[in-house]
């Protein structure tokens, strides 16, 4: 089954998304900041990354640009998860950096997030994104 790396600094939310993902049969690894996330990527080799934007130290945008700069990790699809209502600027920045989708947590329940994961893994596994999906909460 597909492997998901879940990156978020809020342990409560991590637990919540992890539960939903595991219930749906995914193998999940977690990271609570950008540095840990980057280490996890090479060790765990996830099929998809759910990445929080607002994190202390290394934020989601920084993680994303490092992933895309590295040939070994540039193909892994990344869904940005954010708690701030995404401004057009943020969404564009995320998509320009190579995220496949941008989800606002408040507007997307765990079931909707996992739906998105399924959709993207169905079409994108180990491929570069062909379509940029915007889902705004």
């Amino acid at each position: 089954m597909a492997k998901i790396l879940l990156v978020d600094d809020d342990p409560l939310l991590v637990r919540m998304y992890q539960k939903k993902l595991e219930n749906d049969g995914y193998t999940v690894a977690t990271a609570d900041d950008g540095d840990v996330a980057l280490t996890q990527v090479s060790a765990f080799k996830p099929d998809l990354i759910l990445l929080d934007v607002m994190m202390p130290r290394v934020n989601g945008f920084q993680v994303l640009s490092r992933l895309k700069a590295n040939q070994e990790t540039s193909n892994i699809p990344v869904i940005l998860l954010t708690n701030v209502s995404g401004s057009d600027e943020d969404i564009n920045r995320g998509l320009e950096l190579g995220a496949v989708a941008y989800l606002v947590k408040a507007g997307n329940r765990p079931s909707a997030v996992v739906e998105k994961v399924k959709e993207i893994l169905g079409g994108y596994v180990h491929e570069l994104p062909k379509v940029k999906a915007i889902i705004k909460g």
Binding site: D10, L12, L13, M16, K19, K20, N23, N83, V84, S85, S87, D88, K105, A106, G107, R109, P110, S111, G137
Partner: protein, 481 residues
């Protein structure tokens, strides 16, 4: 005796008359010169007071310097009454070489330190307390308690002062300070000059009071803006911080209800759903408050464009169709004019969403219809439902902040800000929002209008919005959802 005229007597009389009239003329001439000087002085003071300078110290300095120059006085000092510490403090003293010399000699500034109102022997204190003009030789009893009599004498001699007059500055029966005028005039002050200074004290009192009030208002304005910004920041932070726990509550409850954590006891379903509804309501409330504070502070950015109102209506109606079907209602758009309007399309969608949403909430059976009506420079959008209706006496209340009516009991409560915000938004972009028809138990029509594109109204609104955007560079466009 015949009535022969005595030529000698006549001549003497004539000479006397000439001398008399010459004296009179000379006096009149003197008075004319003085009056002329006074006019020039008033004119100059007017110019100072009405100039662009609003700084109290600067205005007062210019005024005292002008008086000293125009009337050849030795010194003019203005002191303000500090209500907090009950003392008189120097606002300004005229700038002349002799005053500088005196201050150097005494190694101390004249009137530089506060004079407490308890200093009964001080004539300035007396003038303020009695609200009457005081006269003294030299500078006697004006510099206490910070200068000795000898020092006062030295100061008066150095500056060349023979007499000083202290006038209370009274505005609307309230003393705001005092003005000290010092002269070197063996003959004393002419009646005219006396009246003139009296008048000057009145003018200066008003001018200083105005400048003081202006300063106060400016200070209050700055503080108000700061408070407003703080409030906005607070609401913004509160809203974002509330989001995280609310997302968790909402997400977790939805997962529990979906059975992700195991089967849910039937008895628990309703309370869990209520938890969910409450958390959603809370986040809406915070968002609405944030939006409202943004709108009021002029920090909501409106992005104007021209768009088809029919397209926007069709889109929103389509999005709300599932909710309508769920309640077994008929939601339709009918008779839409193919008109281009000017507005902020995202915000118009929100307004429409809000109106149709309200109709859906308060209608249990029947239909909701959205239609348009065009007139010369506006288009009107009507949302009509077959819902519970609104009693006439309740209709105005509905647009207030946090409005919830008794008749709405038993329905999921909203934030009570929706209609208020919608109306604020529509009014900003040149339209209005109102209840067109409704009464208890009958159908209701809510209407809003928008300017047609390129109409005179549209042009004017565009200009106003551009102006406000310039004044508020930190505007944001999104309403927070």
């Amino acid at each position: 005796m015949d009535d022969k005229v005595n030529p000698q007597a006549t001549l003497a009389g004539l000479a006397q008359a000439v001398a008399q009239s010459a004296q009179e003329m000379s006096r009149e001439n003197k008075e004319l010169i003085e009056k002329n000087k006074a006019l020039v002085l008033f004119r100059k003071i007017d110019d100072i007071i009405l100039s662009k300078v609003t700084d109290l110290g600067q205005i007062a300095q210019q005024v005292v310097d002008t008086i000293v120059n125009e009337l050849a006085f030795r010194a003019v000092v203005i002191l303000l009454l500090g209500k907090k510490d009950n003392s008189l403090i120097r606002l300004v003293i005229s700038r002349t070489d002799s005053i500088t010399q005196a201050e150097v000699k005494l190694n101390q500034k004249l009137f530089g330190e506060k004079i407490p109102l308890t200093e009964e022997g001080n004539l300035i204190v007396k003038a303020v307390k009695t609200q009457r003009m005081q006269i003294t030789h030299g500078l006697n009893n004006t510099l206490t308690p910070h200068f000795s009599d000898e020092q006062s004498k030295l100061a008066a001699e150095t500056i060349g002062i023979t007499a000083s007059f202290v006038y209370p500055l009274v505005v609307r029966e309230e003393v705001i300070g005092a003005m000290l005028v010092s002269i070197n005039d063996a003959e004393g002050l002419s009646e005219f000059k006396n009246a003139l200074i009296d008048r000057l004290a009145g003018i200066i009192g008003v001018a200083i009071n105005n400048a003081l009030l202006y300063q106060e208002i400016q200070g209050a304005n700055v503080r108000l803006k700061e408070v407003d910004k703080l409030k906005d920041e607070f609401v913004s932070i509160a809203s974002h911080e509330l989001r995280t726990p609310l997302t968790a509550i909402d997400g977790l409850v939805s997962m529990i209800l979906d059975g992700e954590y195991g089967a849910v006891n039937q008895d628990l379903k309703q309370p869990l759903e209520d938890v969910n509804t409450s958390s959603v309501r809370l986040i809406h409330l915070v968002n609405d408050m944030l939006n409202l504070s943004r709108i009021k502070a002029g920090r909501m950015k409106y992005t104007l464009s021209e768009f088809s109102i029919a397209d926007v209506i069709t889109e929103v109606v389509h999005l709300l169709q599932p909710i309508s079907e769920q309640k077994g209602l008929q939601l339709t758009a009918a008779n839409l004019d193919p008109v281009t309007v000017q507005g902020d399309s995202d915000k118009v969608k929100e307004v429409l969403n809000n109106l149709i949403g309200n109709s859906l909430k308060f209608t249990d059976k029947g239909s909701i219809t959205v239609s348009t009506k065009a007139d010369e420079d506006k288009i009107e959008v009507d949302v009509t439902d077959t819902g519970i209706g609104i009693a006439k006496e309740d209709q105005q209340k509905l647009f207030g902040e946090f409005a919830q009516l008794e008749s709405g009991k038993g329905r999921p409560p909203g934030t009570g800000l929706g209609l208020h915000i919608s109306r604020e938004i529509v009014r900003k972009i040149g339209g209005d929002l109102w209840i067109k028809e409704s009464d208890k138990g009958t159908r209701s029509t809510f209407a809003f209008s928008l300017p047609k594109s390129q109409s005179a109204l549209a042009m004017r609104v565009k200009e106003e919005i551009e102006k406000e955007a310039q004044n508020n560079p930190d505007q944001k466009s999104d309403t927070i959802k």
